[in-house]
Subunit: 250 residues, 2 copies
DNA sequence: AAGTGGTCTAGACCACTCA
DNA sequence: GAGTGGTCTAGACCACTTA
């Protein structure tokens, strides 16, 4: 029960990380600037290699820095794409033959790759939402400025879209929503569920995410005016690349 | 230029992490279960302490596990609160003297603490949005099941709310939106901007976040029917505690 | 070729939890 | 008091980047 007047100072690696963070947030170190590396920190603070690494790991895990093998650790910025919820899905957008995504990138060039269109048995969750045991699944990856920013997987009830262009790689002008319209099933109502978490190794690889970057996961369900669910779209976004915007009335 | 038939196997710590992750995702290890600790991994795989720690750090940084000092590393679940965007702010909610938050917790008890109400000079960003140089600032922390889940900071143009209960700790029945109504400034339109990132040390402390937990940051601006901005609310949510839901029409 | 981060070993002492 | 995770040292070899 001895009184120990220990000052409860944070550990060395934390104090070093705090110092570097302050220099980043104050603007002294700007986006893309090189941070002092492991060797520099070892010399400057007279610490061991592992301790210097630990300090840098703090900033990397906070998403404020990104390591480049063989080169150094660099300050990292937040330059997001603005993604509109309510507004971007307005009928004017897709009713006139334009893809939804256009509204997202605001003129920045984007590309789609790794497109895969297959017929599958629905998982329990998907079957519950779409009220269908068999689904057409469209998987693809979106990139902006040749940087991957989003993975998307769309599910459609097989019996509704069988034979339409939705089952093909190229869905034609206006995308899948225009095709749903052709089928007499235009989406009228949307529900988006949004959460955030750290990526798994697969997502991390496909989106080329540095450590410390969470993903935003959006599950969007599209319903016809009659309340029939016609699409479930699961999107995984690089959180460093996006800001979501939702507008609504009281 | 020698051809090296190296199999590019992932490093030891990654393979161990992959194995543990698989056991978690398969359901073999359930929420709250104890993972093999550092000593167990060292013995089982004949590796050094640091390597075992590194393997566990992967899962901790992915948010799949949470370390308890002196006890062990435990599997961690995702049991979110559902937060409604459009629906929860409908006029019926706050027009009848109920606080907005009620709709969030679905009957689960919640508490507010660390309430702070002060008059401040607006930062540049806040001044831009609210078109006001001086603002009343309301800071508070929300907890559910005595666990902190959200930090919120609301800004009000000082000249609009001066003298109202908005400048007091207790805003009375219906909360600040009811008071804005009393002032003839009922919110009619909302914009929410949503992003996700890793928390800083301050947020990490106030929300008691384990490693590997991102935060969701929501900036909500409330406008009157005339388009006058009357509130800017910056919310920082524990991403492991929330799912956001937005409903809207095409 | 020199410097960087990535991985790993083999120790050490500490604070904390739990039976 | 035994076991746990938290911090730290002092080395080592590797792959990669940059010049």
């Amino acid at each position: 029960m001895s009184e120990s007047p220990v000052s409860h100072e944070p550990p060395i690696y934390r104090r070093i990380a705090d110092g570097l963070r302050a220099r980043i947030l104050s603007g002294e170190l700007r986006d893309g600037d090189r941070l002092p590396g492991e060797n520099a920190l070892m010399a400057e603070h007279a610490i061991a290699r592992a301790t210097a690494r630990q300090a840098l790991a703090v900033l990397i895990n906070e998403g404020l820095a990104v390591p480049k093998r063989g080169s150094g650790v660099y300050v990292r910025l937040f330059k997001p794409i603005r993604r509109h919820g309510s507004r971007r899905l307005s009928r004017e957008q897709w009713g006139q033959g334009r893809a939804i995504w256009d509204a997202d990138t605001r003129g920045r060039p984007f590309t789609v790759d790794r497109v895969e269109v297959v017929l599958e048995r629905a998982t329990e969750e998907v079957a519950d939402v779409l009220e269908s045991g068999e689904v057409w699944v469209r998987r693809r990856r979106y990139s902006v400025d040749s940087r991957p920013v989003q993975l998307a997987t769309s599910y459609f009830p097989a019996h509704l879209v069988q034979g339409s262009a939705i089952t093909l790689a190229d869905t034609g002008p206006g995308g899948v929503y225009a095709r749903l319209g052709d089928l007499g099933l235009p989406p009228a109502h949307f529900t988006e569920e949004v959460r955030a978490r750290m990526p798994g190794p697969r997502e991390s690889g496909l989106l080329d995410l540095p450590g410390g970057t969470p993903v935003i996961v959006i599950a969007r369900t599209a319903y016809t005016s009659g309340g029939l669910p016609v699409e479930l779209n699961e999107m995984v976004l690089d959180s460093a690349a996006y800001v979501l915007q939702y507008d609504f009335d009281a």
